[in-house]
Symmetry: C2
Subunit: 236 residues, 2 copies
DNA sequence: GCTACGACCTCTCCCAACGGGAGGTTCAAG
DNA sequence: CTTGAACCTCCCGTTGGGAGAGGTCGTAGC
């Protein structure tokens, strides 16, 4: 304990010395000391000074308030621990992405960071959770297969678009169908799935440059492809 | 994101709009936006704005700084998680103490809180850890047995003291030996054990009233007993 | 009795990351 | 032209104290 903390407790009315010497020096009585012990113990449990004041001053009125406060604190700590777990997972994922063998690749890391933020802008927390569930359900090799299939679709789409095939051509519309079917594996079922699909399309439309940066094709070509596919989808 | 956060980032120089309209309104360019995405993503990992500014502005100089920062953050999160685990254990222990069947017993809880603080005043963190290890090693029934034995010693000591047996009497000195032997089971071996023993004696001497409150005997009798045993120990 | 030095007092500013509001300007739509 | 929303700057508030200025008190040694 520092003397400054005692002054602070005095200021906020949590604990004041009940006596003063004529010169104004604080005299902490036995009673004050016992209160200080309780304050310190409760602080050591992570409670705020306000909560401590509440439970120490109101404990006489409500003998159960202490238990309530402690159970509430336990819940808070649980939530906090869960949050920390999530953050740890995220950071480990990021470190894995660059750490293995590819050497230090800060660009890739930066791009991933940007995408994280974009992702969080367009999907709600629950939607992101559902998407993560589906992705995990696909498994590692399923994910790889989907990636390869999607790469093929992108190449095919770029060929169609850049050879002048109009967006309402049957070939383009068929490509969109296969594209959406592949994407469907990542979205949940039912109306919620439709909402995440719509959010994903908005994200692509608004940020194809951002997203394209993380892909092997130039951003402008991807942006063009997205617009082309949107046209094809609407024409169907 | 609130606009207020953007103003804040501008104030601290983390992210300012690179253009302004003639009227003074901020215009965030594409480039600014990308920086904002990175800031938000890093914030979502629990990094401080200062750290983010450092890594974003210095990343060109040192491509590994990002990895270093993330691993450091991972370590911090680990420590934090461990701390939360400790706090949870403590709170669960406190709730167990009053929750089982004895009904709401806020007095007992308060006394325990005071003792926690006293305990932390006299023992260092490492010492408390060693003591907890020894206590756990004793096991539940071992602890109960020690408690019963110690209750007997207290009763015997109170009898001796209150029937006027002088502290340098052999019976008192023998009691002290058994008392210290019993306490020895809780202290570590070697010189460190001697230090915790000394700390425990100081704690008893200074706070017998506090500690006595948690025991079935009146605090004054316990205080007297402690003084009596100290005399007997010194006379040996 | 004097003096030195430590301990104490009040008062003020500082930290992180914004939130909220006052009071004034600007923008875009009707 | 008006109106309402959005934007601007400036300032105070939050938590739990830390740091320091500038002054007073108390006690120990000489």
């Amino acid at each position: 304990m520092t003397v400054r903390a005692l002054y602070h407790y005095d200021e906020i009315g949590l604990l004041s010395a009940s006596e003063r010497t004529p010169a104004g020096h604080r005299r902490y009585t036995e009673h004050d000391l016992r209160r200080l012990y309780r304050v310190r113990a409760l602080r050591a449990l992570g409670l705020s000074l306000e909560e401590i004041a509440g439970v120490l001053d109101g404990a006489a009125d409500d003998p159960g308030s202490m238990r309530d406060l402690l159970t509430a604190q336990l819940r808070r700590l649980d939530e906090h621990a869960e949050l920390i777990g999530v953050l740890r997972q995220r950071i480990r994922g990021l470190l894995r992405q660059t750490g293995d063998s590819s050497g230090p690749d800060p660009d890739r890391l930066m791009t991933t960071l940007e995408l994280m933020s974009v992702f969080e802008t367009y999907f709600t927390a629950e939607q992101r959770e559902r998407l993560a569930e589906r992705r995990d359900a696909l498994g590692g090799e399923g994910l790889e297969a989907a990636k390869r299939e999607w790469t093929g679709l992108v190449e095919e789409g770029l060929r169609l678009m850049e050879t002048g095939v109009p967006a309402d051509d049957e070939r383009a519309r068929d490509l969109v169908r296969r594209w959406d079917a592949l994407a469907g594996g990542f979205h949940p079922d039912g109306p919620e799935g439709e909402r995440t699909r719509a959010a994903a399309r908005r994200m692509w439309r608004d940020n194809s440059a951002e997203i394209g940066r993380s892909l092997p094709w130039p951003a402008e070509r991807m942006a063009g492809l997205v617009a082309y596919l949107d046209q094809a989808r609407e024409s169907g």
